[in-house]
Amino acid sequence: MIAAITTLTSLGLLLGMLLSLAARFFQVPDNALREELMELLPGVNCGQCGYPGCGGAADALIAGTASPALCPPGGRALAQSLASKLGRTLEGAGDGPPLLAEIDESRCIGCAHCGKRCPTDAIVGASKQIHFVFQEACMGCGLCIEVCPTECLQLRPQTPTFATWYWPKPVLQGV
């Protein structure tokens, strides 16, 4: 019996060591393109694209199963940079203005759940006080909406201000 135990233990140790060495020396580096895509993606893992986190989205982009305009928080700018990185064209996707979270103050009960959930610390407010979303820090991932017990959070297009308004594109037949 002792012989059997010793054999199995030493076999286990030896194979374990071999495996760990193999893992160290034959390691396949992460796809460089994937890393570049991860650098571009917001990295909050909000899941709005339907893939498990930004890593999953990057894999789907590389595999070609996802459109460069898959990321709602990233908006048009991200869609364009993803498309140029992947050498693909954008087909009018991601055109709408980015949607950002907004709190309906009449319904906020100050439960403070949203602030804890927000990946960018864009929501502030003390407990039992009305909360507020800083639009400058909100990326519209929508994670806060899921945790709000009174459904007072909504994603809305940002209203233009004096500083952000610009002339719309002229409407013509052809130029």
């Binding site: 917001p42 990295g43 610390d121 820090a137 308004w165 002229p170």
Partner: protein, 491 residues
Amino acid sequence: MMRLHGFRGGVHPPGQKHLSAERPIESLPLPSRLYIPLQQHAGAPALPVVTAGQRVAKGELIAREHGVTSAPLHAPSSGTVAAIGGFTAPHASGLPLPAILLDTDGEERWIESEPLPDPFSLSPEEVAHRVGAAGIVGMGGANFPAAVKLSKARQAGVHTLVVNGAECEPYVTCDDRLMRERAEAIIDGTAIMLHALQAPRALIAIEDNKPEAIQIMRDACRQDARIEVLSLASRYPAGSAKQLIQSLSGLETPSGGRGTDTGLLVHNVGTVYSAHRALRYGQPLISRIVTVSGGAVAEPRNLEVPLGALVADLLNYCGGIASEDCARLLMGGPMMGQPLPGIEVPVIKGTNGILALTAAEAGEAHPSSPCIRCGRCVEVCPMGLLPLEMSKRAHHEDWLGVQSLGLSDCMSCGSCAYACPSHIPLPQYFAFARGKLAEQRREERKSAHIRALMEQRQARFERQEQAKAEAAAKRKAAKKSRAVVVEEDDE
């Protein structure tokens, strides 16, 4: 007499200055309420220093500058601050801007001030500082704080001050009237600015469609050998700073550079006049001269208006507008002016004209048709750009293409649209492209900001975890030592 060099391109729109050129400057009766937007200048908005219900004297500071490129605001009349809140901006968007609402009391009670020193006994820095403290900004429409321009120009070693009385926009006659009626004050303001710049020479440039103003200004500056009045051939946009510099010196402002790179600094006559008022009488910039004109205005006039008066007040004083005739309401000239969202918007520091144009004047009868590539826009572009190519790229949203064709050099003078036989709104394409590019830059900045926020949050969580672990370890250690103590006690 110095030789003029001219500039490339340009157009000859009908001047229409006869409508108001012979009307002397009149003061607008004081409105009962003034609406003073906190952002009337390029740069950061001013910060209010008054509260609702506070009584203010005429010329009292009501909002201070915020940041380096900014300008303070002063009460245009005595009265009570009614509120501080959003009010429609004189801007095509019709969006609100924070504004100070002032109920005037009709007393016109000036703020008490100390006797002023002779401006020429002050240091150049002090003169520039006083110009800035008076809230003076470029009054030709660019609204850039004048003090910032003065001190930068002195550092850049500017040798010539150009006083811009060209007034090349059709209809607008406020500078013409100012030069005809207050020439001595402009000459004195020019001398003060020369002192602030420590520059040896000033040129006053006036388009030759204003012969009376040229004659009066020549007579007024006879005593000062440093100042010369020049008559420019009338051609739009001769009064644009870069084109004016090129006409006078033959030097082209480098792309992306400033006018002062050529050794010349351009200030509007209105700005120079305001500097005179600030340094001689201690009066900040609280009023300006506005031309109210256009085919739909009953009696075109030149008015001296307190800042914050509503366009409606001005139009009423000029006999009102026939609303069925008025096809377009503009702030500024017809070439570069802003369409207004309504008549309930205030006059600001850069408002040189209020125009109510009929459909025939505004050219609204012509719908746009496709570009025939005639190249007229290229011929008239004073910046030497290719408007037809730029607009095509803007239409197809090829932002890199628009930028590579020199969008940043376009000054939106509108010459291309004026010359276009297909009536294509070229400047709107460029404004759209500029807006889109600015939006993209904002988005990029925002995503970088968000990334940093996420990293900070992550780091905070790690710190908290670590702190928790340390606290737990401490508790454990304390418990253990307590246990040891207890054991010792037992022994």
